[in-house]
Symmetry: C3
Subunit: 174 residues, 3 copies
Protein backbone atom coordinates (compact mmCIF):
# COMPACT_ATOMS: atom_id res chain seq x y z
CA UNK A 1 0.00 0.00 0.00
CA UNK A 2 1.25 3.39 -0.99
CA UNK A 3 1.49 6.48 1.26
CA UNK A 4 1.32 9.44 -1.12
CA UNK A 5 1.20 13.09 -0.04
CA UNK A 6 0.68 15.90 -2.56
CA UNK A 7 1.96 19.31 -1.45
CA UNK A 8 0.47 22.24 -3.40
CA UNK A 9 1.42 25.88 -3.20
CA UNK A 10 2.26 29.04 -5.08
CA UNK A 11 5.67 30.47 -5.92
CA UNK A 12 7.84 30.95 -2.80
CA UNK A 13 5.12 29.54 -0.60
CA UNK A 14 7.53 27.31 1.32
CA UNK A 15 6.07 24.15 -0.24
CA UNK A 16 9.43 22.47 -0.99
CA UNK A 17 10.78 23.12 2.49
CA UNK A 18 7.64 21.72 4.06
CA UNK A 19 7.78 18.64 1.82
CA UNK A 20 11.46 18.01 2.69
CA UNK A 21 10.72 18.39 6.39
CA UNK A 22 7.89 15.84 6.15
CA UNK A 23 10.13 13.23 4.52
CA UNK A 24 12.92 13.83 7.05
CA UNK A 25 10.46 13.51 9.95
CA UNK A 26 9.23 10.07 8.80
CA UNK A 27 10.78 6.82 10.03
CA UNK A 28 12.71 5.48 7.05
CA UNK A 29 14.99 2.75 5.74
CA UNK A 30 18.16 4.04 4.07
CA UNK A 31 18.69 7.36 2.32
CA UNK A 32 15.63 9.26 1.15
CA UNK A 33 15.59 9.89 -2.61
CA UNK A 34 15.13 13.41 -3.96
CA UNK A 35 13.89 13.41 -7.54
CA UNK A 36 14.63 16.81 -9.07
CA UNK A 37 12.81 17.76 -12.29
CA UNK A 38 14.47 21.16 -12.90
CA UNK A 39 16.39 21.54 -16.13
CA UNK A 40 19.35 23.88 -16.45
CA UNK A 41 19.10 26.14 -19.51
CA UNK A 42 22.10 28.35 -18.68
CA UNK A 43 25.23 28.55 -16.53
CA UNK A 44 23.52 30.39 -13.67
CA UNK A 45 20.89 27.67 -13.39
CA UNK A 46 23.50 24.90 -13.68
CA UNK A 47 25.37 26.45 -10.76
CA UNK A 48 22.21 26.86 -8.71
CA UNK A 49 21.12 23.27 -9.29
CA UNK A 50 24.60 21.98 -8.35
CA UNK A 51 24.57 24.06 -5.15
CA UNK A 52 21.14 22.75 -4.10
CA UNK A 53 22.28 19.22 -4.85
CA UNK A 54 25.44 19.54 -2.73
CA UNK A 55 23.39 21.00 0.14
CA UNK A 56 20.84 18.15 0.00
CA UNK A 57 23.48 15.46 -0.24
CA UNK A 58 25.17 16.94 2.82
CA UNK A 59 21.79 16.51 4.57
CA UNK A 60 21.64 12.80 3.63
CA UNK A 61 19.53 12.76 0.43
CA UNK A 62 20.31 10.74 -2.65
CA UNK A 63 19.51 12.95 -5.67
CA UNK A 64 18.14 11.71 -9.00
CA UNK A 65 17.58 14.10 -11.89
CA UNK A 66 14.50 13.37 -13.97
CA UNK A 67 13.34 16.34 -16.04
CA UNK A 68 11.26 13.96 -18.22
CA UNK A 69 11.70 10.30 -17.17
CA UNK A 70 10.00 10.66 -13.80
CA UNK A 71 8.00 7.42 -13.91
CA UNK A 72 11.22 5.52 -14.72
CA UNK A 73 13.03 7.22 -11.86
CA UNK A 74 10.27 6.08 -9.49
CA UNK A 75 10.37 2.54 -10.88
CA UNK A 76 14.16 2.41 -10.46
CA UNK A 77 14.23 3.78 -6.89
CA UNK A 78 14.80 1.29 -4.04
CA UNK A 79 11.33 0.04 -2.97
CA UNK A 80 12.05 0.88 0.67
CA UNK A 81 13.19 4.47 -0.01
CA UNK A 82 11.11 7.50 0.97
CA UNK A 83 10.86 9.72 -2.10
CA UNK A 84 10.40 13.44 -2.62
CA UNK A 85 9.50 14.69 -6.12
CA UNK A 86 10.24 18.41 -6.60
CA UNK A 87 8.35 19.33 -8.60
CA UNK A 88 5.56 17.90 -10.74
CA UNK A 89 4.80 21.23 -12.39
CA UNK A 90 8.31 21.63 -13.81
CA UNK A 91 8.14 18.04 -15.06
CA UNK A 92 4.82 18.84 -16.77
CA UNK A 93 6.29 22.00 -18.28
CA UNK A 94 9.27 20.02 -19.62
CA UNK A 95 6.91 17.50 -21.27
CA UNK A 96 4.72 20.27 -22.67
CA UNK A 97 7.77 21.92 -24.29
CA UNK A 98 8.96 18.50 -25.54
CA UNK A 99 5.62 17.93 -27.29
CA UNK A 100 4.90 14.75 -25.28
CA UNK A 101 1.54 12.98 -25.07
CA UNK A 102 0.47 14.52 -21.75
CA UNK A 103 -2.46 12.23 -20.84
CA UNK A 104 -0.22 9.17 -21.47
CA UNK A 105 2.59 10.66 -19.38
CA UNK A 106 0.14 11.56 -16.61
CA UNK A 107 -1.29 8.04 -16.55
CA UNK A 108 2.17 6.47 -16.45
CA UNK A 109 3.21 8.77 -13.61
CA UNK A 110 0.04 8.03 -11.62
CA UNK A 111 0.74 4.32 -11.96
CA UNK A 112 4.40 4.64 -10.89
CA UNK A 113 3.34 6.66 -7.84
CA UNK A 114 0.71 4.07 -6.90
CA UNK A 115 3.28 1.27 -7.26
CA UNK A 116 5.93 2.72 -4.93
CA UNK A 117 5.67 0.85 -1.61
CA UNK A 118 7.38 3.44 0.66
CA UNK A 119 6.23 6.99 1.53
CA UNK A 120 6.24 9.46 -1.34
CA UNK A 121 5.75 13.24 -1.19
CA UNK A 122 5.30 15.23 -4.41
CA UNK A 123 5.37 19.01 -4.71
CA UNK A 124 3.27 20.84 -7.32
CA UNK A 125 2.49 24.46 -8.10
CA UNK A 126 -0.98 25.89 -7.99
CA UNK A 127 -1.01 28.25 -10.99
CA UNK A 128 -4.69 28.81 -11.78
CA UNK A 129 -5.63 31.66 -9.44
CA UNK A 130 -4.57 34.64 -11.53
CA UNK A 131 -5.98 36.34 -14.62
CA UNK A 132 -6.30 34.24 -17.83
CA UNK A 133 -2.86 34.53 -19.51
CA UNK A 134 -2.64 36.20 -22.95
CA UNK A 135 -0.17 33.61 -24.18
CA UNK A 136 -1.85 30.46 -25.62
CA UNK A 137 0.97 28.17 -24.41
CA UNK A 138 0.62 29.61 -20.88
CA UNK A 139 -3.14 28.97 -21.04
CA UNK A 140 -2.57 25.38 -22.11
CA UNK A 141 0.05 24.88 -19.39
CA UNK A 142 -2.35 26.27 -16.79
CA UNK A 143 -5.07 23.87 -17.89
CA UNK A 144 -2.74 20.88 -17.93
CA UNK A 145 -1.26 21.74 -14.52
CA UNK A 146 -4.77 21.97 -13.07
CA UNK A 147 -5.74 18.63 -14.60
CA UNK A 148 -2.61 16.91 -13.27
CA UNK A 149 -3.16 18.36 -9.78
CA UNK A 150 -6.76 17.11 -9.78
CA UNK A 151 -5.74 13.65 -10.98
CA UNK A 152 -3.00 13.23 -8.38
CA UNK A 153 -5.06 14.80 -5.56
CA UNK A 154 -7.74 12.18 -6.25
CA UNK A 155 -5.23 9.39 -5.72
CA UNK A 156 -3.32 10.94 -2.78
CA UNK A 157 -3.90 9.95 0.84
CA UNK A 158 -3.10 13.50 1.89
CA UNK A 159 -3.17 16.88 0.08
CA UNK A 160 -1.64 19.92 1.76
CA UNK A 161 -1.90 23.51 0.53
CA UNK A 162 1.00 25.71 1.66
CA UNK A 163 0.61 29.49 1.98
CA UNK A 164 3.36 31.68 3.48
CA UNK A 165 5.02 28.52 4.82
CA UNK A 166 1.84 27.39 6.61
CA UNK A 167 0.14 24.08 5.81
CA UNK A 168 -3.59 23.56 5.35
CA UNK A 169 -4.96 20.02 4.93
CA UNK A 170 -7.27 19.78 1.92
CA UNK A 171 -7.49 15.97 2.19
CA UNK A 172 -6.49 13.68 5.05
CA UNK A 173 -4.85 15.24 8.09
CA UNK A 174 -1.54 17.06 8.56
CA UNK B 1 -36.08 31.11 1.83
CA UNK B 2 -33.20 30.68 -0.54
CA UNK B 3 -30.44 28.06 -0.38
CA UNK B 4 -27.50 29.60 -2.20
CA UNK B 5 -24.03 28.02 -2.49
CA UNK B 6 -21.12 29.89 -4.08
CA UNK B 7 -18.34 27.66 -5.43
CA UNK B 8 -15.03 29.48 -5.96
CA UNK B 9 -11.88 28.14 -7.56
CA UNK B 10 -9.09 28.72 -10.04
CA UNK B 11 -8.79 27.54 -13.62
CA UNK B 12 -9.14 23.73 -13.91
CA UNK B 13 -9.69 23.41 -10.19
CA UNK B 14 -12.64 21.06 -10.60
CA UNK B 15 -15.12 23.71 -9.39
CA UNK B 16 -17.75 23.07 -12.10
CA UNK B 17 -17.69 19.32 -11.59
CA UNK B 18 -18.06 19.75 -7.84
CA UNK B 19 -20.95 22.20 -8.33
CA UNK B 20 -22.75 19.82 -10.73
CA UNK B 21 -22.31 16.93 -8.32
CA UNK B 22 -23.79 18.99 -5.46
CA UNK B 23 -26.92 19.82 -7.46
CA UNK B 24 -27.35 16.21 -8.60
CA UNK B 25 -26.97 14.96 -5.00
CA UNK B 26 -29.79 17.22 -3.71
CA UNK B 27 -33.40 16.06 -3.51
CA UNK B 28 -35.18 17.93 -6.29
CA UNK B 29 -38.43 18.47 -8.14
CA UNK B 30 -38.15 18.15 -11.91
CA UNK B 31 -35.12 18.74 -14.11
CA UNK B 32 -32.31 20.85 -12.69
CA UNK B 33 -31.55 23.96 -14.75
CA UNK B 34 -28.04 24.64 -15.97
CA UNK B 35 -27.49 28.31 -16.82
CA UNK B 36 -24.46 28.61 -19.07
CA UNK B 37 -22.86 32.03 -19.50
CA UNK B 38 -20.14 31.10 -22.03
CA UNK B 39 -20.28 32.85 -25.37
CA UNK B 40 -18.99 31.24 -28.56
CA UNK B 41 -16.65 33.54 -30.50
CA UNK B 42 -15.52 30.96 -33.08
CA UNK B 43 -16.41 27.57 -34.57
CA UNK B 44 -14.23 25.60 -32.17
CA UNK B 45 -15.99 27.14 -29.19
CA UNK B 46 -19.44 26.69 -30.76
CA UNK B 47 -18.68 23.00 -31.17
CA UNK B 48 -17.36 22.66 -27.63
CA UNK B 49 -20.40 24.39 -26.12
CA UNK B 50 -22.76 22.17 -28.16
CA UNK B 51 -20.89 19.03 -27.02
CA UNK B 52 -21.08 20.05 -23.34
CA UNK B 53 -24.76 20.82 -23.75
CA UNK B 54 -25.54 17.44 -25.32
CA UNK B 55 -23.62 15.68 -22.53
CA UNK B 56 -25.48 17.58 -19.79
CA UNK B 57 -28.87 17.05 -21.37
CA UNK B 58 -28.13 13.33 -21.55
CA UNK B 59 -27.54 13.55 -17.78
CA UNK B 60 -30.95 15.15 -17.20
CA UNK B 61 -30.22 18.89 -17.14
CA UNK B 62 -32.25 21.57 -18.84
CA UNK B 63 -29.79 24.11 -20.32
CA UNK B 64 -30.40 27.84 -20.60
CA UNK B 65 -27.86 30.12 -22.25
CA UNK B 66 -27.49 33.52 -20.62
CA UNK B 67 -24.24 35.27 -21.50
CA UNK B 68 -25.73 38.59 -20.32
CA UNK B 69 -29.38 38.20 -19.20
CA UNK B 70 -28.62 36.06 -16.16
CA UNK B 71 -31.07 37.75 -13.76
CA UNK B 72 -33.85 37.26 -16.32
CA UNK B 73 -32.93 33.61 -16.76
CA UNK B 74 -33.21 33.13 -12.99
CA UNK B 75 -36.54 34.97 -12.89
CA UNK B 76 -37.88 32.81 -15.73
CA UNK B 77 -36.74 29.46 -14.29
CA UNK B 78 -39.39 27.24 -12.65
CA UNK B 79 -39.49 28.23 -8.95
CA UNK B 80 -39.08 24.60 -7.86
CA UNK B 81 -36.02 23.93 -10.06
CA UNK B 82 -32.54 23.50 -8.64
CA UNK B 83 -30.23 25.82 -10.58
CA UNK B 84 -26.54 25.77 -11.43
CA UNK B 85 -24.94 28.96 -12.82
CA UNK B 86 -21.64 28.27 -14.62
CA UNK B 87 -20.08 30.72 -14.33
CA UNK B 88 -20.46 34.17 -12.81
CA UNK B 89 -17.01 35.30 -13.89
CA UNK B 90 -17.71 34.74 -17.59
CA UNK B 91 -21.00 36.58 -17.16
CA UNK B 92 -19.12 39.49 -15.54
CA UNK B 93 -16.54 39.46 -18.32
CA UNK B 94 -19.32 39.55 -20.95
CA UNK B 95 -20.87 42.59 -19.24
CA UNK B 96 -17.51 44.31 -18.88
CA UNK B 97 -16.87 43.92 -22.63
CA UNK B 98 -20.43 45.07 -23.38
CA UNK B 99 -19.84 48.28 -21.39
CA UNK B 100 -22.70 47.53 -18.97
CA UNK B 101 -23.31 49.31 -15.66
CA UNK B 102 -21.64 46.68 -13.47
CA UNK B 103 -22.92 47.76 -10.02
CA UNK B 104 -26.50 47.82 -11.40
CA UNK B 105 -26.06 44.39 -13.00
CA UNK B 106 -24.54 43.02 -9.78
CA UNK B 107 -27.41 44.34 -7.69
CA UNK B 108 -30.00 42.88 -10.07
CA UNK B 109 -28.26 39.51 -10.03
CA UNK B 110 -28.02 39.48 -6.23
CA UNK B 111 -31.75 40.14 -6.03
CA UNK B 112 -32.66 37.43 -8.54
CA UNK B 113 -30.52 34.92 -6.62
CA UNK B 114 -32.17 35.89 -3.33
CA UNK B 115 -35.62 35.51 -4.90
CA UNK B 116 -35.18 31.97 -6.22
CA UNK B 117 -36.99 29.61 -3.82
CA UNK B 118 -35.17 26.34 -4.71
CA UNK B 119 -31.46 25.46 -4.23
CA UNK B 120 -29.04 27.43 -6.34
CA UNK B 121 -25.31 26.80 -6.84
CA UNK B 122 -23.16 29.39 -8.64
CA UNK B 123 -19.59 28.87 -9.82
CA UNK B 124 -17.08 31.75 -9.91
CA UNK B 125 -13.38 32.10 -10.61
CA UNK B 126 -10.92 33.39 -8.07
CA UNK B 127 -8.56 35.50 -10.21
CA UNK B 128 -6.82 37.84 -7.73
CA UNK B 129 -3.91 35.73 -6.48
CA UNK B 130 -1.36 36.44 -9.20
CA UNK B 131 0.81 39.41 -10.09
CA UNK B 132 -0.95 42.72 -10.94
CA UNK B 133 -1.71 42.46 -14.68
CA UNK B 134 -0.06 44.97 -17.07
CA UNK B 135 -3.26 45.35 -19.05
CA UNK B 136 -5.67 48.01 -17.62
CA UNK B 137 -8.77 46.05 -18.71
CA UNK B 138 -7.44 42.92 -16.98
CA UNK B 139 -6.84 44.97 -13.82
CA UNK B 140 -10.37 46.32 -13.93
CA UNK B 141 -11.78 42.83 -14.56
CA UNK B 142 -9.79 41.48 -11.60
CA UNK B 143 -11.16 44.20 -9.33
CA UNK B 144 -14.75 43.70 -10.48
CA UNK B 145 -14.51 39.92 -10.15
CA UNK B 146 -13.22 40.30 -6.59
CA UNK B 147 -16.03 42.73 -5.74
CA UNK B 148 -18.71 40.42 -7.17
CA UNK B 149 -17.29 37.42 -5.30
CA UNK B 150 -17.32 39.39 -2.02
CA UNK B 151 -20.88 40.60 -2.60
CA UNK B 152 -22.25 37.15 -3.40
CA UNK B 153 -20.22 35.42 -0.66
CA UNK B 154 -21.81 37.79 1.86
CA UNK B 155 -25.28 36.68 0.78
CA UNK B 156 -24.53 32.96 0.33
CA UNK B 157 -25.41 30.32 2.93
CA UNK B 158 -22.34 28.35 1.92
CA UNK B 159 -19.06 29.27 0.18
CA UNK B 160 -16.73 26.51 -0.98
CA UNK B 161 -13.20 27.00 -2.32
CA UNK B 162 -12.09 24.20 -4.67
CA UNK B 163 -8.39 23.38 -5.16
CA UNK B 164 -7.26 20.36 -7.20
CA UNK B 165 -10.83 19.03 -7.05
CA UNK B 166 -10.95 19.24 -3.24
CA UNK B 167 -13.51 21.39 -1.42
CA UNK B 168 -12.80 23.66 1.53
CA UNK B 169 -15.69 25.35 3.33
CA UNK B 170 -15.06 29.10 3.73
CA UNK B 171 -18.61 29.72 5.01
CA UNK B 172 -21.21 27.24 6.27
CA UNK B 173 -20.35 23.54 6.10
CA UNK B 174 -19.71 21.21 3.16
CA UNK C 1 4.88 40.73 24.35
CA UNK C 2 3.66 41.46 20.88
CA UNK C 3 0.28 40.51 19.37
CA UNK C 4 0.86 40.38 15.64
CA UNK C 5 -1.73 39.27 13.07
CA UNK C 6 -0.84 38.87 9.39
CA UNK C 7 -3.79 39.14 6.99
CA UNK C 8 -3.12 37.65 3.54
CA UNK C 9 -5.34 37.79 0.48
CA UNK C 10 -5.58 38.45 -3.21
CA UNK C 11 -6.66 41.61 -5.01
CA UNK C 12 -10.15 42.77 -3.90
CA UNK C 13 -10.41 39.90 -1.45
CA UNK C 14 -11.68 42.12 1.35
CA UNK C 15 -8.43 41.76 3.33
CA UNK C 16 -8.09 45.47 4.24
CA UNK C 17 -11.67 45.74 5.42
CA UNK C 18 -11.28 42.63 7.54
CA UNK C 19 -8.02 43.94 9.02
CA UNK C 20 -9.60 47.32 9.87
CA UNK C 21 -12.57 45.61 11.49
CA UNK C 22 -10.25 43.48 13.64
CA UNK C 23 -8.39 46.52 14.97
CA UNK C 24 -11.63 48.41 15.65
CA UNK C 25 -13.07 45.40 17.51
CA UNK C 26 -10.09 45.19 19.91
CA UNK C 27 -10.04 46.97 23.27
CA UNK C 28 -7.60 49.84 22.81
CA UNK C 29 -5.95 52.86 24.37
CA UNK C 30 -6.20 56.04 22.29
CA UNK C 31 -6.53 56.34 18.52
CA UNK C 32 -5.49 53.38 16.42
CA UNK C 33 -2.72 54.18 13.94
CA UNK C 34 -3.15 53.41 10.26
CA UNK C 35 0.19 53.15 8.45
CA UNK C 36 -0.43 53.57 4.72
CA UNK C 37 2.33 52.49 2.32
CA UNK C 38 0.66 53.56 -0.97
CA UNK C 39 2.51 56.14 -3.02
CA UNK C 40 0.72 58.58 -5.30
CA UNK C 41 2.23 58.68 -8.80
CA UNK C 42 -0.45 60.88 -10.37
CA UNK C 43 -3.31 63.26 -9.54
CA UNK C 44 -5.98 60.54 -9.61
CA UNK C 45 -4.08 58.52 -7.03
CA UNK C 46 -3.34 61.60 -4.89
CA UNK C 47 -7.07 62.33 -4.79
CA UNK C 48 -7.95 58.72 -3.98
CA UNK C 49 -5.40 58.52 -1.15
CA UNK C 50 -6.67 61.82 0.31
CA UNK C 51 -10.29 60.60 0.17
CA UNK C 52 -9.42 57.31 1.95
CA UNK C 53 -7.47 59.26 4.56
CA UNK C 54 -10.37 61.65 5.26
CA UNK C 55 -12.76 58.68 5.54
CA UNK C 56 -10.49 56.85 8.00
CA UNK C 57 -9.85 59.93 10.10
CA UNK C 58 -13.60 60.46 10.34
CA UNK C 59 -13.73 56.91 11.73
CA UNK C 60 -11.14 57.71 14.44
CA UNK C 61 -7.86 56.57 12.91
CA UNK C 62 -4.59 58.49 13.02
CA UNK C 63 -2.92 58.07 9.60
CA UNK C 64 0.82 57.87 8.99
CA UNK C 65 2.23 57.62 5.48
CA UNK C 66 5.27 55.39 5.15
CA UNK C 67 5.91 54.23 1.58
CA UNK C 68 9.50 53.28 2.56
CA UNK C 69 10.25 54.15 6.21
CA UNK C 70 7.86 51.60 7.73
CA UNK C 71 10.14 50.38 10.51
CA UNK C 72 10.67 53.99 11.61
CA UNK C 73 6.94 54.65 11.55
CA UNK C 74 6.44 51.64 13.85
CA UNK C 75 9.23 52.79 16.17
CA UNK C 76 7.73 56.29 16.35
CA UNK C 77 4.14 55.17 17.02
CA UNK C 78 2.83 55.49 20.59
CA UNK C 79 3.65 52.16 22.33
CA UNK C 80 0.05 51.74 23.48
CA UNK C 81 -1.48 52.30 20.01
CA UNK C 82 -3.06 49.49 18.01
CA UNK C 83 -1.53 49.60 14.52
CA UNK C 84 -2.74 48.58 11.09
CA UNK C 85 -0.18 48.37 8.25
CA UNK C 86 -1.81 48.48 4.80
CA UNK C 87 0.01 47.02 3.04
CA UNK C 88 3.33 45.20 3.25
CA UNK C 89 3.33 44.25 -0.41
CA UNK C 90 3.17 47.87 -1.61
CA UNK C 91 5.96 48.72 0.82
CA UNK C 92 8.04 45.87 -0.62
CA UNK C 93 7.28 47.03 -4.15
CA UNK C 94 8.37 50.58 -3.25
CA UNK C 95 11.68 49.26 -1.88
CA UNK C 96 12.22 47.00 -4.89
CA UNK C 97 11.76 49.98 -7.23
CA UNK C 98 14.04 52.10 -5.00
CA UNK C 99 16.81 49.49 -5.29
CA UNK C 100 16.93 48.92 -1.51
CA UNK C 101 18.68 46.03 0.24
CA UNK C 102 15.56 43.87 0.67
CA UNK C 103 16.86 41.32 3.22
CA UNK C 104 18.12 44.19 5.42
CA UNK C 105 14.79 46.03 5.12
CA UNK C 106 12.89 42.82 5.87
CA UNK C 107 15.00 42.14 8.97
CA UNK C 108 14.53 45.69 10.24
CA UNK C 109 10.77 45.50 9.70
CA UNK C 110 10.53 42.13 11.46
CA UNK C 111 12.35 43.60 14.45
CA UNK C 112 10.16 46.73 14.59
CA UNK C 113 7.03 44.55 14.48
CA UNK C 114 8.35 42.33 17.26
CA UNK C 115 9.16 45.40 19.39
CA UNK C 116 5.70 47.02 19.25
CA UNK C 117 3.97 46.30 22.56
CA UNK C 118 0.33 46.82 21.46
CA UNK C 119 -1.72 44.83 18.91
CA UNK C 120 -0.54 45.08 15.32
CA UNK C 121 -2.33 43.85 12.18
CA UNK C 122 -0.50 43.85 8.84
CA UNK C 123 -2.08 43.27 5.44
CA UNK C 124 -0.16 41.58 2.60
CA UNK C 125 -0.99 40.35 -0.87
CA UNK C 126 -0.65 36.74 -1.90
CA UNK C 127 0.68 37.02 -5.49
CA UNK C 128 2.25 33.63 -6.23
CA UNK C 129 -0.72 31.57 -7.43
CA UNK C 130 -0.78 32.53 -11.10
CA UNK C 131 1.37 31.67 -14.09
CA UNK C 132 5.11 32.59 -13.93
CA UNK C 133 5.25 36.22 -15.17
CA UNK C 134 7.19 36.97 -18.38
CA UNK C 135 8.65 40.13 -16.89
CA UNK C 136 11.86 39.53 -14.86
CA UNK C 137 11.06 42.33 -12.40
CA UNK C 138 7.61 40.83 -11.79
CA UNK C 139 9.23 37.44 -11.17
CA UNK C 140 11.64 38.96 -8.68
CA UNK C 141 8.82 40.84 -6.96
CA UNK C 142 6.80 37.63 -6.73
CA UNK C 143 9.72 35.81 -5.13
CA UNK C 144 10.44 38.60 -2.68
CA UNK C 145 6.77 38.96 -1.71
CA UNK C 146 6.59 35.22 -1.04
CA UNK C 147 9.75 35.35 1.08
CA UNK C 148 8.48 38.30 3.12
CA UNK C 149 5.11 36.61 3.71
CA UNK C 150 6.87 33.44 4.92
CA UNK C 151 9.17 35.40 7.21
CA UNK C 152 6.36 37.41 8.81
CA UNK C 153 3.98 34.43 8.99
CA UNK C 154 6.65 32.57 10.99
CA UNK C 155 6.73 35.37 13.54
CA UNK C 156 2.99 36.13 13.66
CA UNK C 157 0.69 34.85 16.40
CA UNK C 158 -2.12 34.63 13.86
CA UNK C 159 -2.24 34.36 10.05
CA UNK C 160 -5.56 34.79 8.25
CA UNK C 161 -6.18 34.14 4.56
CA UNK C 162 -9.08 36.18 3.15
CA UNK C 163 -11.04 35.00 0.09
CA UNK C 164 -14.18 36.79 -1.12
CA UNK C 165 -14.31 38.62 2.22
CA UNK C 166 -14.22 35.38 4.23
CA UNK C 167 -11.42 34.62 6.70
CA UNK C 168 -9.61 31.30 7.07
CA UNK C 169 -7.15 30.82 9.92
CA UNK C 170 -3.83 29.44 8.65
CA UNK C 171 -2.16 29.92 12.06
CA UNK C 172 -3.71 30.58 15.46
CA UNK C 173 -7.48 31.04 15.65
CA UNK C 174 -9.78 33.69 14.19
Amino acid sequence: MTDFTLVLGGARSGKSRLAEARILAMPRKGEPVYIATAQAFDDEMTARIAAHRAQREGAGWHTVEAPLALAEALENAPPTASILIDCLTLWLSNHLLAGSDLPAEGARLAQAIAAHPAPLVAVANEVGLGIVPDNPLARRFRDEAGRLNQQLAAQAERVILVTAGLPLALKGSL
